[in-house]
């Protein structure tokens, strides 16, 4: 069943229609269509090199596909300039942590608020009037996220000194600081131990439930995906091979073949 037709457009945050992405002669994605509904956790899975990260880059506008359409909030999205990408309220975390290592957790998270800060250079330098007010307001929002993610104790610690699991949490914090409508997580549990994974799962669920943020995530840990996601889309060799509830996808023959391989 084609999910896009079955769902009401109002509930749909993003609609990806027949997207094809090429790098020269290489087809990274071909004719992929699916949607992301408001308030859901949408997982994108697939074997290595299937095109998942490319898909995420298409979703946030970093790559513009050669063919196909991206509908975000009911509007067809044109090709975006880098600064426009930042302003469209889609935030993301990266597969390899991309924080500013020398900066503190707090400062890293404040960078997530940059798009909301409008005061000029002079005012910022003097830290007076609008600049001070703005910083206070934005700091409060960041502090609420610090409280949410339970990282009060490392607020002033340089990120480079933190263990990997905490860095991942800080990265999630920075993405949340931008108050995104759509949060993209690229392998949020990669390289974590079980305890860190459990913590991260709880935070992702809490973000989704308490803050109402729509989440699209790529993840390799199948257990995690099946527990977290409301719906799963499976990509293999740049093509969509399945889409649906975790249970449906788990038992789909195409998916089993893609993951386990078939004899030719």
């Amino acid at each position: 069943m084609d999910q896009t037709e079955a769902t009401n457009r109002n509930d749909t945050l993003m609609d990806i229609v027949k997207v094809t992405l090429r790098f020269g002669g290489v087809k990274a994605l071909s004719d992929v269509s699916f949607n992301i509904q408001r308030g859901e956790i949408r997982a994108i899975i697939g074997p290595n090199g299937a095109g998942k990260s490319s898909m995420l880059n298409v979703i946030n506008g970093f790559y513009t596909p050669q063919e196909g359409e991206i509908w975000f909030e009911g509007k067809l999205r044109p090709r975006l300039k880098p600064h426009q990408i930042a302003y469209q309220r889609i935030a993301r975390t990266f597969q390899n942590i991309a924080l500013f290592e020398g900066m503190t957790v707090l400062d890293n998270m404040m960078t997530g608020r940059m798009i909301y800060m409008k005061s000029g250079l002079l005012s910022q330098l003097a830290w007076w009037g609008k600049a001070e007010r703005e910083e206070t307001e934005n700091r409060l929002i960041v502090e609420k996220i610090i409280d949410f993610l339970e990282i009060q104790a490392i607020r002033k610690t340089p990120v480079g000194m933190l263990p990997y699991g905490l860095q991942k949490r800080v990265e999630l914090g920075r993405a949340l600081a931008a108050e995104p409508m759509l949060l993209l997580l690229d392998e949020p549990m990669a390289g974590m131990n079980n305890e860190e994974k459990e913590d991260m799962c709880r935070f992702i669920l809490d973000v989704n439930e308490e803050l109402g943020t729509t989440i699209a995530l790529i993840e390799h840990d199948m257990g995690v995906v099946m527990d977290l996601a409301d719906r799963v889309v499976v990509i293999d060799h740049g093509e969509k091979i399945a889409d649906g509830q975790p249970d449906e996808v788990r038992n789909d023959q195409n998916v089993i073949d893609a993951y386990l391989g078939v004899s030719h």
């Binding site: 502090e143 809490d206 308490e210």
Partner: protein
């Protein structure tokens, strides 16, 4: 001066709101900023909560359980309970489900106030053990959105319930307040106890307030003090400091942001009056020493030079003895270069009065703090006495005594050496346990402490030897005082916990728990590779280090005529940390000797039958209540 107490805690609140209305009563760090409430605001908040209780239908004499980390709202909830004639029962927040279930069931609480989802979960899990529990109020709504809210209320929703019929509840509150009197029950505190189920110690307003008043006078505490409330709310000490003394003097109580930020918050607040059990001082010192080892060569040698000097003259300076001008000058330079900055890093710059109690503190640790100019003292007390039995007056401080009896406290030592006391702070009874009350408190009000000790004739200071029931005899008739030896061993930072055996035996043996922070740091420095606590604990080099410590302690003991029988001949390093969740320690981290001797009976046998190693399997309880087993082969070393 021991005049009768004519106040209750809620009345003290009203007095403070009038007298110190605009002074800060509580602070809590939230969103990175210290939020504060004046006494007047606290009064309003407490009244609002009290009205909320009435709206929920709480009756006089009902018990209200309080569970969570130190937060102003939880303290207010307790005072609000007193305001309507109900009794607050704080419970250790880190207790596992069973323990919480027992206390809730035993005190028949009708309402529980929980800090967050974790506490709510534990309470819900134990529902069938406490049939009386009707409702739960939570503070932090996170994660509780999808719970069944028929009996669960958010703290904020109390307000709405009150507004529906405010006039009626205000009138009722007025009537209830008139009925409370100083003789009524102020709080029930469950003591963890080293044996058996916890007992509920019933304390009246008179108990709490007279103990708070007398101790405040003893140390001339004033309205200007600042304290940090970070110790468990269910512990009598916290109740006395953060409510009793705070309300009596009207000083400010600060609550840290979370347990992990405690050290940082301590530095920001800079308390003037500070209380900590020995283990807090120990871990402060350990982290501090580890950081010094990481420091540059110049800093390190500067630290070592001045600390050596401080060890020599610091304590005499503190006690007011005369020292030579050169020594005094060097100490003053040290003050600028090392002691002052060190106190600042520890967050103890402004401490005017510091106390340690609960366990014996190592003389080295004790002297370390005193030598850098912190007025650290010891006190001896227990829940049944509303804390204070004896405390050390300024200028009369020794590492091995616990001071003189407080105002109004009478002391008596029976012929077996057990200490008895009688004071205005003496508890009313153990809740629903008349036998225990009878065996502890006689009809004249004398209470048996269960500790053995003696009074030093030269200065009237009390000295504690051990728990009376733990003191025994070696097979050769010499005195066996396990805790004395354990404390000596525990004074080494690498040893976290230890249990010494030897009652009625030929010689003494010990089980040792290493301190992962301290030993882990050593391992890192010396390229010792390990993957788990168990592996590090069993490392031959670690055994050698511990062996060395045991030898040092033995040398000390050999010199003491009375205790020369307690020399430790064999020891082993345990493969797991002794844990309160496994019932091996009490919630205040005291060793449960009997439990350990039973649980590790195979190890005890091996310690005495001369075997070189033993294979053992033991049960562990994880934080979520699940159980598992770990097994290990432990070596046993002769000293």
């Amino acid at each position: 001066m021991t005049t009768a107490v004519s106040y209750t805690i809620p009345e003290l609140l009203d007095r403070n709101a009038e007298k110190y209305g605009d002074q800060i009563a509580n602070r809590e760090k939230e969103f990175g900023i210290w939020q504060s409430w004046t006494w007047k605001e606290v009064q309003n908040q407490v009244e609002e909560i009290a009205l909320g209780y009435l709206a929920l239908g709480i009756k006089e004499g009902d018990h209200i359980a309080v569970l969570g980390r130190n937060r102003p709202k939880l303290y207010w909830s307790m005072v609000a309970a007193q305001r309507i004639g109900a009794v607050p029962v704080p419970i250790y927040q880190d207790a596992v489900g069973d323990e919480i279930g027992y206390v809730l069931g035993h005190c028949e609480a009708v309402l529980a106030i929980a800090g967050d989802q974790e506490q709510v979960d534990k309470i819900l899990e134990q529902q069938d053990k406490c049939k009386s529990l009707e409702q739960i109020i939570y503070l932090d709504p996170r994660g509780l959105r999808n719970y069944d809210h028929s009996r669960l209320h958010s703290f904020a929703s109390l307000h709405d319930a009150v507004d529906q019929n405010r006039k009626k509840y205000e009138k009722e509150l007025q009537a209830r307040q008139e009925k409370i009197s100083p003789e009524k029950i102020c709080v029930i505190l469950y003591t963890s106890g080293t044996t058996g189920n916890p007992k509920g110690v019933v304390l009246s307003h008179v108990n709490i307030i007279s103990a708070s008043r007398d101790s405040s006078e003893f140390d001339s505490l004033s309205q200007k003090e600042t304290v940090l409330a970070y110790l468990p709310m269910a512990w009598v000490g916290d109740f006395i400091f953060s409510i009793g003394q705070a309300y009596w003097n009207g000083f400010c109580v600060n609550c840290p942001e979370s347990s992990q930020t405690m050290m940082h918050d301590l530095r920001e607040i800079g308390p003037s009056y500070f209380f900590a059990p020995p283990r807090v001082f120990e871990s402060l010192l350990t982290t501090c020493m580890i950081r010094i080892e990481d420091a540059g060569k110049i800093k390190r040698s500067m630290f070592q030079y001045f600390m050596k000097h401080a060890r020599k003259v610091g304590v005499p300076i503190m006690t007011g003895e005369k020292i030579s001008p050169t020594e005094s000058l060097i100490y003053r330079i040290g003050e600028i270069l090392v002691y002052g900055p060190l106190r600042n890093v520890l967050g103890l710059s402004r401490v005017r009065v510091g106390y340690t109690a609960g366990e014996a503190i190592g003389p080295e640790i004790f002297d370390f703090y005193r030598s850098i100019g912190i007025n650290l003292k010891q006190l001896y007390g227990q829940t049944e006495a509303s804390v204070f039995i004896t405390s050390q007056p300024d200028g009369e401080v020794e590492a091995d005594s616990v001071g003189v009896p407080g105002q109004g406290v009478e002391l008596r030592i029976d012929d077996r050496g057990e200490i008895f006391y009688r004071s205005p702070g003496t508890f009313i009874e153990y809740y629903k346990n008349p036998e225990a009350t009878k065996s502890t408190k006689d009809k004249d009000g004398w209470v048996a402490t269960g500790d053995a000790g003696f009074i030093d004739e030269s200065n009237g200071h009390l000295k504690i030897i051990d728990r009376a029931k733990d003191v025994g005899k070696m097979a050769n008739g010499k005195l066996f005082a396990p805790k004395y030896v354990e404390n000596k061993l525990k004074f080494f930072p690498d040893i976290l916990e230890t249990v010494v055996f030897g009652n009625n035996r030929e010689y003494c043996t010990a089980m040792v728990n290493i301190d992962l922070v301290s030993v882990g740091n050593w391992a890192e420095r010396n390229n010792v590779v390990y993957s788990s606590y168990q592996e590090l604990a069993g490392h031959p080099e670690v055994y050698k280090i511990i062996q060395n410590y045991v030898r040092q302690v033995n040398e000390d003991l050999a010199g003491d005529e009375k205790l020369s029988g307690c020399i430790v001949k064999r020891f082993l390093v345990l493969h797991k940390e002794l844990d309160a969740d496994d019932g091996e320690l009490t919630r205040t981290r005291k060793v449960r000797r009997g439990v350990i001797e039973d649980k590790y009976s195979d190890l005890v046998t091996a310690l005495y039958d001369g075997s070189k190693e033993i294979h053992t399997t033991s049960e562990v309880t994880y934080e979520d209540g699940r159980k598992g087993f770990i097994s290990a082969t432990l070596k046993i070393l002769d000293v």
